[in-house]
Amino acid sequence: MLLNASGCLDALAAPEVARAFDAFVTKTVTPLPREGNEPTRIAETDHGLLNSIGLQNPGRERFLAVVLPQLRGLGVPIWVSVGGFSADEYAETCSRLSDVTIELNLSCPNVDEAPEAAAEIVAACRAETPFPLYAKLSPSLPNMADAARAAQAAGADGLSLVNTIRGLALDEQTLRPRLARGAGGYSGPALKPIALAAVYACYRATGLPIVGMGGVSTGRDALELIAAGASAVAVGTALFGDPGVPNRVRADLYKAAAALGFEDPLAARGIAHAPDPPLVLSKVTTNKTPAYMAK
């Protein structure tokens, strides 16, 4: 299953791109409308993208009354990314959503965080909704496996891994921060090994369904996240450079999996945790005496 990463696609501005995914994940919805952060909001680095958008969104009431009905018209399953500044705020939004999957954005690096721990927020939301609940965690948590276990114990049905990680870029000439707010959330190719490590640790710790994301721009990237334990994959930054990326990644994922003997990409799920394959001795073709033995 292929999704967009939250905040990386406006389905109403580009419906054909949203329809190319198996589900559309909304930009994070907060209880009140948010103007977002002052520009400059984005800065490209050598290996990724820094953003400081600041959860710009129309707020819960307008989202529920205007945006969500329009999104339902797309004919794609909807995941709503829910944000807030306290557990109660998250929970109230959850209580008002139906027939969607809910992704709790517990990890935006560009706004102040709720004071409660992620697991407390998950528990508050679980009490308010029977719909599937995914906890989106930050890769900067000191112990991803513990955080994942806590989210699971609090009632999360799945995990979204990972959000961006905090980073900073300086201007070539002035040596001042390029983003108006200083630091921002780092995404793109540089995030992939970080995402892989998080998915790997949390799959082992919980066995929960996991949406893997971070630096996915090819089918091979998606296959690696699945091998680490993801049951679905999301594409974020790569969408900015190429709105055709969902179809390309999907096609390449099947090819990359087939090339390694997996009929279905999901057959590779968790394979990174299996013992190393046995050495195939027939592939050792040299019969020269190694130099160190010849002496």
């Binding site: 930009k27 977002g36 984005i42 993208l49 793109g188 900015f240 450079g241 190429d242 709105p243």
Partner: protein
Amino acid sequence: MLSRGRHSVLANEPVGPYRLLRVERGRAEPGIPGQFFMLEAPGRVLPRPMSLCLAPPGELDFLFEPVGRGTRALAALEAGDELAILGPLGNGFRLDVDRPLLVGGGIGMAPLPYLSEKLGGPPAVLGFRTAHHAEAAALLPGSEVAVEPGLVTELLPAGHDVLACGPERMLQAVGALFPGAQLAWEAPMACGYGACYGCAVDLDGTYKRLCVEGPVLEAAACS
């Protein structure tokens, strides 16, 4: 519907300190002057937004200034290289104007040659930092040129429908003189099609996406 394809480079020519990147048009539409395209910048994570400068038959031509890593990568492209191009995107200039006057500042003159062609060659005023930069005025024959410390705003006759593109301070000055002017703005942009919210600009006190609302805006709408 978004349109993205791979295009061959026909030539990449110096124009003063700028470059004119000429690519094979293929199936891409040139769009309305003032609309823009996202050009793949080889080796970079993000493409770069560029308005169309000229649209000769079979070509799309982009004028840009190599100032950063993306534009330097574009400047290094050679004939025969390929790059992906998405577009046209955004809202261009309204062409239903009675007495058009084109105003450009520096690399902001980029969309004006194509705009001039669509409007039948109206008068134009261009401003540049140096005489070297002003060599680009050759792309808009007949234009009046101001070189710093001269300013374009000193050369603008009254009673025209102004269509302008240039640095922010020039656009603000032009907008103050001509509240009905159409101004083409720029902002750092990751996607160009409304996905990233990176290109936010303050319009009437709220942040709007320049790629969706603009890049051409009525002067009166810009705070």
